[in-house]
């Protein structure tokens, strides 16, 4: 027995009306009766019955017009209308259908048939009701989801835009909702004035693809600001993603470390399509090939942080892209692919037009716009031409310690694995007066440390770096010797003294190497070669004083400040 319905009967013939009303009531429904179309419409409006039995030919307003009005009032809800008729002509039946009729019942009435029709219509009505409810529910969930995405995006934009994507040497293209395609683009200045840039592509879509972006960005910005190097950041991101992401969710990524002082870029690519090094003179296009598994796949012990180093000239550009470009698919099921991209590169004349040309090529290929494409291009520019904001510090800077000394010796194993710079920098930046010089301090310490490690401890010959081949050889030797390192040390002696109007920091760096004549090297480097000579010249330029003690062991630099400065 189906639910009790309220049924409107519109029939001008009193005997037929009475008969129908009785049948319907006996079947357990509530019947409402009208003797013409006008009455029927008024009664429908007032009582909102769930089903209508409608005679076609009635005085005042016929059944066709009444049916049309009732259907209009019912709106999305299905109110089935069964036309009561002995009309046999096809044309009249068509009129019933056109007026919104759902079925017919012929005279003489048969109560079994009537019951069957009412039940069938009731099922249809409830089905429609369910569909409407579910549609509303889906719409509601969708609204909810979009709202969540808006909130997530707003929060994430705050995090992502804390970086330096707006720097004039960065050009990028990304859909505003790229985050929900799993695409992620981050850039941040290092304390030394260099720049880290990361393009990532998480597996999947929607919130699951976006969720890993937050911890990744946090690690990227936090560690970059503290002076950690590319490999340390990669290791930390990989370990963190491996720990928190479910199996099968990972991040294809490329990380670039730009040094404007040294004019090199370090590149690590794990699972992104080939990036390109585009020379300013257009002479060559060096592919930056993925040599690693994506981030978040390997256990920390198995992770490989080996990166490649490329010397750059002013105006050279590094180009990275997400797989949305290569995997764009046209209607024949073909992929856009590497070769089409290469053709765009070859045809490009104006670097500034490259992104637009890639987009146009995709549009021509697919016939519609592609919205999951992320492109980024970073140019090598003059050091100092970028206007970077001040370093950001946590902590209020009260109670800064002013009168102390400390010495550190980093030995064998530690030199292979540990980068002491962030550690030292954190310590020194507890001194409020040194903070305005944080960038210079970091650059100088980094330069002195790499000098002590590479030339003193590892005994590398920097004159190797005179051409690109030697450059590669230098870095090859560096990693081989570092891997074999058992002994040797680098010492930092930090000496902080208060002065009348501020204070002074004296840093002395020594190493286990055979010593060197710093002054001679500086003079030689100033003359000869720009790839390796920048280092010590830079130290002299950035620090207040730079001296080489008589014994030839190490180098000493000084920074001073005055209170209130």
């Amino acid at each position: 027995m189906p639910a009790r319905l309220s049924i409107l009967i519109a029939e001008d013939n009193a005997a037929d009306r009475m008969l129908l009303s009785t049948i319907v009531s006996r079947q357990g429904h509530r019947s409402l009766t009208a003797s013409n179309g006008l009455e029927a419409v008024a009664l429908f409006e007032q009582e909102r019955p769930q089903l209508v039995l409608m005679d076609a030919l009635m005085p005042l307003m016929d059944g066709f017009e009444a049916a049309r009005r009732i259907k209009r009032m019912a709106g999305e809800e299905l109110v089935p209308i069964i036309f009561l008729t002995s009309l046999t002509e096809g044309e009249a039946l068509v009129r019933c259908l056109e007026a919104g009729g759902d079925d017919f019942l012929a005279k003489p009435y048969n109560r079994v048939i009537l019951e069957a029709k009412i039940n069938a219509m009731d099922r249809l009505r409830r089905l429609q009701d369910t569909v409407l409810q579910q549609r509303d529910l889906i719409a509601q969930h969708n609204e909810y989801l979009l709202n969540e995405q808006r909130v997530a995006k707003a929060v994430f934009d705050k995090v992502a835009h804390s970086g330096c994507l707006a720097a004039p040497n960065i050009r990028y293209l990304q859909s505003p909702y790229a985050l929900f395609n799993g695409d992620l683009l981050l850039a941040a200045f290092k304390p030394s004035g260099g720049m880290h840039v990361l393009l990532g592509d998480f597996t999947g879509h929607g919130l699951p693809a976006a969720i890993g972006a937050m911890p990744l960005a946090e690690v990227f910005y936090g560690m970059t600001a503290k002076g950690y190097c590319l490999t340390e950041i990669l290791r930390e991101i990989n370990a963190k993603l491996k720990r928190i992401l479910p199996l099968g969710v990972f991040c294809c990524a490329a990380l670039l470390n730009f040094s404007f002082q040294r004019r090199v870029v370090e590149v690590w690519n794990g699972g992104l399509p080939d990036g390109y090094l585009l020379r300013a003179d257009g002479a060559e296009r060096v592919p930056l090939v993925s040599r690693h598994l994506p981030l978040g796949v390997l256990e920390p012990a198995a992770f490989n942080d080996r990166y490649e180093v490329f010397p750059l000239q002013l105006g050279d550009r590094v180009f990275l892209l997400s797989d949305g470009v290569l995997e764009a698919c046209n209607q024949q099921g073909e992929l856009f692919g590497e070769r089409r991209l290469q053709r765009v590169f070859s045809a490009n004349r104006q670097p500034a037009q490259l992104f637009a040309e890639i987009q146009q090529a995709l549009l021509n290929f697919r016939g519609e716009l592609q919205d999951d494409v992320s492109l980024v291009e970073v140019s090598m520019v003059e050091e100092g031409s970028l206007n970077r904001g001040p370093l950001v510090f946590t902590g209020s800077g009260q109670n800064s310690p002013l009168d102390w000394s400390a010495s550190f010796e980093f030995r064998g194993e530690t030199l292979r694995r540990f980068n002491p710079l962030p550690f030292l920098l954190q310590l020194l930046l507890e001194v409020e007066g040194l903070r305005p010089q944080g960038g210079a301090l970091y650059s100088v310490l980094a330069e002195l440390y790499s000098n002590a490690l590479e030339h003193g401890v590892l005994g590398l010959d920097s004159s190797l770096k005179r051409d690109a081949e030697g450059f590669a050889e230098y870095y090859l030797q560096r990693s081989t010797r570092l891997a074999e390192l058992r002994e040797g040390y680098v010492r930092f002696h930090l000496h902080l003294v208060p002065e009348a109007a501020g204070g002074r920091l004296i840093v002395r760096v020594e190493d286990s190497g055979s010593g060197f004549d710093g002054q001679a090297i500086v003079e030689q480097q100033l003359r000869v070669d720009r790839l390796c000579g920048r280092g010590l010249a830079l130290v002299r330029q950035l620090s207040e004083r730079c001296t080489w003690p008589e014994d030839g062991q190490g180098v000493s630099v000084e920074f001073s400040w005055s209170a209130g400065a």
Binding site: M18, T22, P108
Partner: protein, 117 residues
């Protein structure tokens, strides 16, 4: 009772459906039918083929429901006449309908009294 005037199977079914209200249904039908006949004559008088057709159609419907096959058939013919607008055939058909209704009415009155007892 002649089955051509009133179908006793239909009456049995109506009685089953209507229960105590069966006599009321019969009364309603008879009163309504008088009104339909009046409308038929008026339409003929006014030579209004469309009204004639509608009245015949409506009368036909209730006659079929009430189990009066002969009357239903005559109404159907008249409806057709109205549709074809051949009013010349109408007077004779209406007269036959009135005669048939007179028989049906007597039979229904008897049915009603039989039921009362």
């Amino acid at each position: 009772m002649s089955a051509i005037h009133l179908d006793s199977a239909v009456l049995a079914a109506l009685q089953d459906v209507m229960g105590d209200e069966y006599p009321l249904l019969l009364d309603t039908y008879l009163a309504d039918s008088e009104e339909r006949l009046r409308l038929l004559r008026q339409a003929l008088h006014e030579a209004d083929a469309q009204s004639l057709r509608l009245a015949a159609h409506s009368f036909k419907g209730s006659c079929s429901n009430m189990g009066a096959p002969m009357l239903t058939a005559l109404c159907k013919q008249l409806e057709e006449v109205g549709r074809r607008e051949s009013l010349a055939e109408a007077p004779e058909l209406i007269e036959r309908i009135e005669r048939e209704f007179a028989i049906v009415r007597i039979l229904f009155k008897a049915e009603r009294q039989r039921y009362r007892r």
